[in-house]
Point group: C2
Chain length 199, copies 2
């Protein structure tokens, strides 16, 4: 398959890239500052240009989404808006604007995360964004068939414990290799409207 991979430069994106390429897929990488195509997903006005540049694809895979982390009392409305634009609207527009560019039976795989279910201090904007993405995936699935849409919802990566471990006390990390399998399952499988939790 020809797969558009958003957020290819990140830890997760690089792992997804490696595994999907090893499985014989053609990967078109997208990043803010690197990759085959440049795109900032927080700017949905650029999504149309991204799809024009990419041409028809069989799957769109997202491994990108930023949200602010701050204690709740220090959050400003702009922080929640940034989470909405950076992780929710960005991925919603990948789906909506991608409908004419993804093959029938093709798929969108979005990124959510454990904080939708298991909150941490300072993570309310991330929780909000993840909950929005997961509910959106369930809703979009019934309107975009035969195209499909799923989300991957990982907990903290083993490979990120050195950086973020202290914020996830007692939360068992998962290897990126396991997270990547959820992407494979979404892209090569046939389900839709699913949230694949990797915990």
């Amino acid at each position: 398959m020809k797969i558009l991979l958003i957020g290819a430069a990140g830890k997760l994106g690089a792992a997804v890239h490696q595994t999907l390429a090893a499985r014989g897929h053609q990967i078109v990488t997208v990043g803010r500052t690197s990759g085959d195509l440049r795109h900032d997903i927080a700017d949905p006005a650029g999504t149309a240009a991204l799809y024009e540049a990419a041409g028809p694809v069989d799957a769109v895979v997202s491994a990108a989404g930023d949200t602010p982390f701050k204690p709740l009392a220090q959050m400003a409305p702009g922080d929640y808006e940034a989470a909405f634009r950076g992780k929710v609207l960005s991925q919603v527009e990948l789906v909506r604007q991608g409908l004419d560019h993804v093959a029938e039976g093709g798929s969108f795989t979005l990124i959510s995360g454990v904080l939708a279910d298991e909150p941490i201090v300072a993570g309310s904007a991330a929780s909000l964004a993840n909950g929005a993405v997961e509910a959106y995936v369930r809703a979009a699935a019934i309107e975009i068939a035969p195209r499909r849409v799923n989300a991957v919802s990982p907990t903290i990566f083993t490979e990120s414990v050195a950086d973020y471990g202290p914020y996830f006390p007692g939360m068992e990390p998962v290897d990126l290799a396991r997270v990547v399998q959820a992407y494979v399952r979404s892209v090569e499988g046939a389900q839709t409207g699913q949230v694949y939790s990797v915990r």
Copy 2:
């Protein structure tokens, strides 16, 4: 208790008002165009003035949140933004800006809805908003203790079947009297971070 009731003029708000007043609470009603205090929750800049006008309260109860309904392919980014501002950020700001105005042990009760779990055609923005509210409630709860926050997530009301029934095929409606009990449970109970599904 002294309870600030947002969206008091709606079907749900009126039912919540009646029941909470009958249980001996003092209700301060808030609406866009009616009520003891006027406030448009889609304008978070007005939330501070609302709390100043209300004075200290024991609980904040929200029965207000608008989202656009359109087939997914017809949704514009502005529609999802409207859902975010009209039902998510509006309620998030009721909590954040209300922290200094709600008594210790007092509560916020937000409104979500069945579409977070069970989507309908044309409801992707509502699903997104409800999923965001529910995940936010779980996250906010761990940061605002001893204050509490819960959500009520009803399906279609029996009293609304005449208006909206065709959009909810085969979904069993619930009487407003049952939905209101979830508000009572949140306000008078002691739980936090809960999503009370009324189905």
